[in-house]
Symmetry: C2
Subunit: 556 residues, 2 copies
């Protein structure tokens, strides 16, 4: 059996000019990065302001498990399936981070016969967006510490600096450091730490910005720390937003590539799905909606985090209305939710599967009942799935009036996505009545309460004394009307990763609240969220190689 | 008067395809990065292996002063002047680092009417080469610390780690840190520090590599630290070179841009000129020599560091033979060498000028007598220069039989470089007899002695006891036959920055020696070399901005 990279490398890619043409985009709007990647000039948006938008379809999933769900694979294969139905369809995905590529997870460009290509480029530097974000992030950090070194006119409290440096690498050694050592000429000693680049607020800012002017304004609003009297210090106070925006002016432009079957695919931006909102950029979604009659996009983690933020943050702030939602599940993952041990996932277990189904059904119910959107379950077929297992999921869904389709895109590409595609086309004609799960003009605690009770189906939320104090402070600083970005375990509806399936009777504890003023949301932390991963015992990097012709191997 | 960026932005650039065509390079070899930048496929070298090489002309300078010399400006304007003479000429320069761009120096793409464009792109991310180097550098660091964390099978002594992380930013706060804090899950506490990316050995490796296979071998040889028994630990021991080479496969390809007058210009690689060799990549020089009948290139700092390393390291290792050398000087800088205070440099001072001339003449003598190459002095005209001053320099040179030409490229572009161009064309017909200043198969101390006495004109070299011990260790480890890379102040022939002009009777002290085993040289440190700059009181970043159309201002 071929590996993902072997399949990707055996694909005969179209020139990106032809991919763009397929979606009616003239070469004038393209900035080439080689033959198979291009950035799109944002002028396309103003030039086509009067043209109608396509229909937006979100691909989300059940709570992730070690078994894997295949959300990106389904997104890509669904789009290829829609193309086979003759529908002008475009994909919009997030960019992968170098950290996981060299760590344990491998790349993030789909799998099997449903991938985006050139996968090596996409998984490595791509068009340099993440490097630009890292540079802007670290310029701000250098300007902040330089300000302190040069006299600290703004009276920044070095114990209350919230801005961290970043690298796009899994590097636990940098989680906690002391910097500014070595005497007076070498900075001010203080505690510090690095995040991985995708965790930088700039990533979220770039992905929510509505153009270069908005980007710069958001960058300026970012809080880097607090003064000795508790006033926020912003990037604007440091006169840093102009240089940062200059560093990001190309990164703001969406990247166009293609699927294995030549479907146009935007891969742009990749914020964390816990401390940030976990979706590709608003710019890419907007451009995609001008290019395709259908835009298939995805959100991070399961629907409780990914879809919730896609709908309550991204769609609300950008004024987007999705037409349908695809809920990806696998038999293996559902069995995991039903208590089946990891080693037994490849063996038929109808009882475990049935026990796991409530996880899927609760997510579907959220989409339809809470958000008022049409939804279809996509069963992403794995080779080990038995017919009886597949039938059980389909029957159960049908008996409850839940739309369901089998997706075989991993093995068959777009052809394996055609039945799902038909369902999606049908759903897009169904009128929805999109509403968010909470209104913005409520106290922070009330918004948290609504997410926990309506989306997670918990009994309520508890704030620690520290979080309560922070809620009051953030409200006093004028941040009270921002949406909430929940930083919670992705493995459970609750804040306890061991509560699989569809747990009930739990409460969620918010330990602290912080503002991402540039991104425009309040992050609610329900536990320790790792913003700098580490490498495993044998990093994936050890197997990556390149031959004398520049052909890369060992990426997966 | 227009600023550099205003001149650059008012230039009507040619499509890079047409620039390449001018040098006879087919579109098939181009990988576009937008319309005005391209990388060149290295296949061009094998496809043209039988074609003759052009003539290589080095532009170097007197010892740098705060007054500025204009080496890059002269290089660019000379090439444009040669084109005006009908000569197929190509430029090869180093890439600028983001650190100085946002710090105090501004960009590094020439000045006035002798610039390379698009200057904003070149000065910011360009084609991402430096980001790729940073990522490879930091991947290696993460793999090293992860190796220690996962059991330290190689028995790396955490007190003897020589590999630092890097960022492409002026950030003094990172010079000296303690990392790995926060307990067992977060690494091993140890002292550490960051360099600016251009100081990474990977930069030197990339610039000296002779292809992807050689690059990977060099990366594998890099020493990251020593074991408890003093044995070197390499990147190969950590199985890191494959992934690093994969990250660098595109960065190894030369970048093509153009001058304001449309002359093809390679801008590729930018190693430090003290701890490294300070020249653009061997790959860019090789490709340029296949494209142009003349290739104008430059080396960092003054000729004692830049030309010495260009000739003794780069040309020797890559088997290149330059045809001529241009020695850039300005009246202002010569007056500075003659003791004229900074505030008075704009006023005529023939006495100071005459006192400063020996600096220039000694550099010229080195090129002709030590290295056996034809040399011409280029007086880079500044608006404040008086006719009497210019005449003094010319007369003095002529009386000593030194070739000299006035260069007015800053004000007039290629037209101002035509008389220098005529001299260069003439010199390229003069037979040279290129030899290095020292042979490789001698003891390290003897090689140091020859550089100091023959190139610097000092009385001799002294090694500290520590340096003596290191020389013995490096020789025992098999590194004794490598060339020497002197890390010395750029401001003086000596190791004392206050000894201007042409000092005599001094000795040079080598404080420590370290091997850059991947680059393939031994670095001799004669003092504290700053490998991580800091930002000034008012960083240049504060004035950089971008408007809603993506137009950048405030770069200079």
């Amino acid at each position: 059996m071929k590996t993902d990279i072997e399949i990707a490398q055996s694909c005969r890619m179209k020139h990106i000019r032809d991919v763009a043409e397929l979606a009616g985009v003239d070469e004038d709007y393209l900035e080439y990065y080689g033959k198979y990647k291009a950035k799109i000039d944002l002028k396309l948006l103003s030039d086509r302001a009067g043209a109608p938008d396509g229909k937006l379809v979100l691909v989300t999933a059940i709570n992730p498990t070690p078994a894997g769900e295949g959300k990106t694979t389904t997104t890509v294969g669904l789009a290829d399936g829609m193309r086979r139905l003759g529908k002008n369809t475009v994909v919009a995905l997030r960019e992968p981070s170098l950290g996981p590529v060299f760590g344990v997870k491998g790349g993030a460009a789909g799998g099997g016969y449903a991938q985006v290509v050139p996968m090596e480029d996409i998984n490595l530097h791509f068009t340099g967006d993440f490097h630009a974000i890292g540079a802007a992030n670290n310029l701000l950090a250098a300007m902040l510490d330089n300000h302190i070194q040069q006299g600290n006119e703004l009276a920044v409290d070095v114990r209350r600096i919230t801005w961290k440096r970043c690298v796009d690498m899994n590097d636990r050694q940098l989680r906690s450091i002391v910097c500014g050592l070595g005497g007076k000429a070498n900075g001010m000693p203080r505690e510090d730490g690095f995040d991985i680049t995708v965790a930088s607020e700039i990533m979220a800012v770039l992905c929510l910005a509505d153009g270069l002017t908005d980007l710069k304004a958001r960058l300026g609003r970012m809080v880097v720390g607090y003064t000795s009297t508790g006033a926020p210090v912003t990037a604007h106070d440091l006169k840093a937003e102009g240089a940062m925006a200059a560093l990001l002016k190309d990164a703001l432009k969406p990247n166009l590539v293609q699927t294995l079957e030549g479907t146009p695919a935007f891969i742009h931006g990749g914020p964390f799905a816990n401390i940030a909102h976990g979706c590709n950029s608003v710019m890419a979604t907007r451009v995609a909606l001008k290019m395709g009659d259908y835009v298939i996009t995805e959100a991070g983690f399961g629907a409780d985090l990914g879809a919730e933020k896609f709908l309550d943050i991204k769609c609300r702030l950008a004024g987007l209305t999705p037409s349908a939602v695809v809920m990806v599940a696998t038999v293996r993952a559902l069995k995991h939710h039903g208590g089946c041990p990891k080693g037994a996932l490849g063996t038929e277990d109808l009882a475990a599967l049935e026990r796991g189904l409530p996880n899927l059904l609760r997510h579907v119910e959220n989409i339809t009942a809470v958000y008022g959107l049409p939804c279809v379950v996509a069963i992403n077929r794995f080779p080990t799935d038995t017919e009886a297992e597949l039938r059980l999921v389909e029957d159960k869904c049908r008996s409850l009036g839940v739309n369901v389709a089998l997706s075989e895109v991993w093995a068959k590409g777009g052809e394996g996505g055609m039945s799902l595609a038909r369902e999606v086309v049908r759903l897009c004609e169904t009128p929805g009545s999109f509403t968010c799960s909470y209104a913005l003009d409520q106290p922070i605690e009330r918004k948290l309460e609504q997410i926990v009770t309506r989306v997670y189906h918990g009994d309520g939320v508890d704030l620690t004394p520290a979080a309560k104090k922070q809620a009051a402070e953030l409200t006093a600083l004028g941040f009270g009307a921002l949406p909430i970005c929940m930083a919670k375990t992705q493995y459970s509806f609750s804040d306890d990763p061991s509560l699989l399936g569809a747990p009930e009777g739990f409460r969620v504890t918010v330990r602290s609240l912080k503002v991402s003023a540039g991104a425009g949301f309040i992050v609610a932390l329900t536990g320790d969220i790792m913003t700098m991963p580490g490498l495993p015992k044998v990093p994936a990097a050890e197997t990556v190689d390149v031959d004398e012709n520049g052909r890369i191997s060992g990426l997966f």
